[in-house]
């Protein structure tokens, strides 16, 4: 119970301190911090409209955050979410175009999810495999794979797969209105949010309640120990990368199937990079990604209100995101060091005390 208190109190405290620092920054920038906080709240969570705005922006972040979080559990720092979104979205769009009208919409959407996940999984899995089997730094290779993905998308979208009707914004042919993912009930939130929550919960279960997840955590904790216990280290590392990439690939598929209806350069809108921030804030815990993505989605949603009501630049919310990021990372050093958050010494520890006292008597 007390351990849970610590894991909640420290990040919440870090966010609170970053809000105070942000208030100082706002004051220096010449605005009233209390009014700005009220506007952030109004723009992010102050009404049903604001909530829809926040949740729509949070949906892709949940999936792209997994692309960094899962490999991180195996000890890899992967920043290839953007590339996986692009490749996943592009391949899903191809499947949608080919199967449009051939299969019923439910099967088309299912195939798009599968192919999007597969493409994203292979993309990031390649970075994991290069790391494990060839010793290539996964951070660099996954970053460079982002550029390769964007270049391939540009090549196909401007070239052979271009819909001639899209003159000044080259895009592929549409996947067809029937194959689009709709909104949840009467809201304006598309079902991408549902995919995000389901995938986060499923991967949390996989990582926390199965031997596979335990194995990945052991590899992330100490590769040598994992090898000595006979764990299939390479397979675990590559699988974690494939699963993370698959999540980001689904994010790309949702951008195509719920928002654009075709693939174009709008796939490369920065969700992959925003997901890295979410993953670190959630300390790579798939279930914690859900609230953190909503928090970040809310901050992004409130940016517009800040710009319009207070004449602050868009970068203001980047400053807030940056402060939260740095303070959360710095606060990791506090685990186990704040006395009143520690569990009270259980009786089990008494023998240890005795053992320490015994040597004093011996020299006599």
């Amino acid at each position: 119970m007390m351990r849970h208190l610590e894991t909640i109190a420290i990040p919440v405290g870090a966010v609170a301190v970053s809000l105070v620092l942000f208030g100082v920054f706002i004051t220096i920038a010449g605005a009233n911090p209390l009014e700005v906080f009220a506007s952030i709240y109004r723009g992010a969570f102050g009404s049903w409209f604001a909530w829809q705005d926040t949740l729509v922006r949070a949906a892709p972040l949940m999936l792209t955050a997994l692309c960094t979080a899962l490999p991180a559990r195996a000890g890899l720092i992967v920043i290839g979410g953007e590339g996986a979104v692009v490749v996943g979205g592009f391949c899903a769009a191809l499947v949608g175009i080919v199967l449009n009208g051939v299969l019923p919409p439910l099967l088309v959407i299912s195939s798009m999810v599968l192919v999007g996940a597969l493409a994203g999984g292979i993309w990031v899995g390649a970075a994991g495999a290069l790391r494990h089997y060839r010793g290539v730094n996964e951070t660099i290779s996954s970053l460079l794979l982002n550029y390769i993905a964007i270049a391939l998308l540009n090549f196909f979208v401007v070239g052979v797969l271009k819909d001639p009707a899209t003159l000044n914004k080259p895009s592929t042919f549409p996947i067809g209105d029937a194959n689009m993912i709709g909104a949840i009930g009467e809201s304006s939130i598309h079902w991408g949010l549902g995919y995000g929550i389901i995938v986060c919960v499923a991967l949390w279960f996989l990582m926390r309640r199965t031997t596979f997840g335990f194995g990945v955590d052991v590899v992330g904790g100490n590769v040598r120990a994992a090898q000595l216990t006979g764990l299939p280290v390479g397979r675990l590392i590559v699988s974690a990368c494939v699963l993370g990439g698959a999540a980001a690939g689904i994010a790309g598929m949702i951008e195509v199937a719920a928002v654009h209806g075709r693939a174009n350069t709008s796939l490369n809108a920065g969700y992959g990079y925003a997901g890295i921030l979410v993953a670190f804030l959630a300390r790579h815990n798939p279930i914690a990604i859900i609230p953190v993505a909503i928090l970040l989605g809310g901050i992004r949603a409130s940016s517009g209100v800040l710009q319009r009501a207070h004449d602050l630049p868009d970068a203001t919310t980047l400053v807030l995101q940056g402060l939260i990021f740095v303070l959360i990372l710095a606060s990791e050093a506090l685990y186990g060091r704040i006395p009143w958050l520690q569990p009270k010494a259980p009786p089990k520890e008494q023998p240890v005390m005795q053992a320490k006292e015994q040597p004093k008597e011996q020299p006599a």
Partner: protein, 369 residues
């Protein structure tokens, strides 16, 4: 117990927030024209977005206009949310989503808000397909680009020009061709190298391309990307001349800046505001060039010769009286095929020019990125 008080606190803040909302909207005078502007990049990019921001700032000075804006809005579902937020929270009557890729998103919500006018920059408005409260506006910026080409043709010593462009779409190809035809009207042997960077904001590639062009002996650079800042600054650093685009970049290159093609959005936005104030019907399609005041040239840089100025001013006068035709045969493409035979001419408004997929003779490069 504690959790309950916390929730109560939250609820009361929510009520206060809602009251604040009504308070603010009530405080705005009802007769003000409320205009919302949305940019895909930063307001101060020395380029496309800054040009729109300058237009917005100019109309915002009027006391009967309330103008507000939002920068860095991606061409995804986020722009839908931004537009709805401007309508619901700020009471926007007219929205200017200024990026080309916003158009499909506008069409998704326009029918839901019939009282709001959605005016899109560069969109392909089609009265038979699109709702009445959607419109589009754009300018023939290739006219001032042609004038830049004339100045570049006069000033270049090597006769080698360079064009750094984003992607090979008709709009971009038309600018490149106008620049080349303008330069060749001065120096028939002039050539223009083209590099497509593959994206609208790709500063690293823009700098690399600019440097490699200077290394090849090119002495006038220009560009068609969202922010010409990198190309113009690189040209200045390497001691070559440059022509600007979108807005005035003279301050970035005090020595080498020749002239540039600029948008004049302040006029367009002021016209729209006046129409709304007077209760006039807003036209769904607004187009125009130098004559209509939608585009203009940047003031000449200090180094531009009198001869070049005189020549460009003469052609500008022809654009003003409507007698100037750029696409007049015979015109060959850069593979040697005749695209416009002798005697044939395409006026500025000709729809054929809007699907351009070729580069004119003298341009070194292909339409593949």
């Amino acid at each position: 117990m504690k959790r309950r008080t916390f929730l109560k606190g939250l609820a009361s803040v929510g009520v206060m927030g809602a009251m604040g909302e009504f308070g603010i909207s009530g405080a705005f005078a009802a007769d003000k024209v409320k205009m919302g502007f949305i940019y895909v990049g930063p307001r101060d990019d020395y380029g496309y977005n800054q040009a729109h921001f300058e237009g917005k700032s100019a109309v915002a000075k009027q006391d009967w206009i309330k103008a507000f804006d939002e920068e860095n809005v991606p061409e995804t579902i986020e722009v839908i949310k931004t537009m709805e937020s401007m309508i619901n929270l700020d009471g926007a009557q007219v929205l200017f989503p200024t990026s080309f890729g916003y158009f499909p998103h506008i069409l998704k919500i326009a029918e839901k808000y019939p009282k709001v006018m959605f005016l899109h920059c560069g969109g392909l408005y089609d009265a038979s397909k699109h709702p009445k409260n959607v419109g589009s506006y754009f300018g023939y910026i290739d006219e001032p680009v042609y004038l830049s080409g004339i100045v570049a043709g006069h000033m270049s010593k090597t006769g080698k020009l360079g064009y750094i462009a984003a992607i090979p779409i008709p709009q971009v190809l038309r600018n490149i061709n106008n620049f080349m035809i303008g330069a060749r009207s001065v120096n028939p042997k002039a050539t223009c190298n083209v590099v497509f960077t593959g994206g609208w904001a790709n500063p690293v590639k823009e700098a690399e391309s600019a440097n490699s062009m200077v290394d090849q002996g090119i002495d006038v650079l220009t560009c068609h990307v969202d922010s010409p800042k990198v190309v113009v600054e690189t040209a200045e650093k390497r001691g070559v001349m440059c022509c600007g685009y979108h807005t005035n970049q003279a301050t970035l290159a005090p020595k080498g800046f020749l002239t540039g093609a600029e948008w004049n959005w302040s006029k367009v936005y002021a016209d729209y505001a006046a129409m709304i104030k007077d209760g006039k019907t807003i036209p769904n399609l607004v187009r125009g060039g130098i004559k209509e005041g939608i585009v203009k040239s940047s003031p000449y840089g200090a180094s531009v010769s009198e001869k070049a100025k005189k020549h460009a001013d003469e052609v500008r006068a022809k654009f003003m009286d409507g007698s100037m035709v750029v696409y007049k045969g015979p015109i060959k493409d850069n593979k040697g095929a005749i695209v416009i035979p002798a005697g044939k001419e395409y006026k500025q408004t000709d729809i054929w020019l809007e699907s351009m997929d070729w580069l004119v003779e003298g341009v070194v490069g292909t339409t593949k990125s």
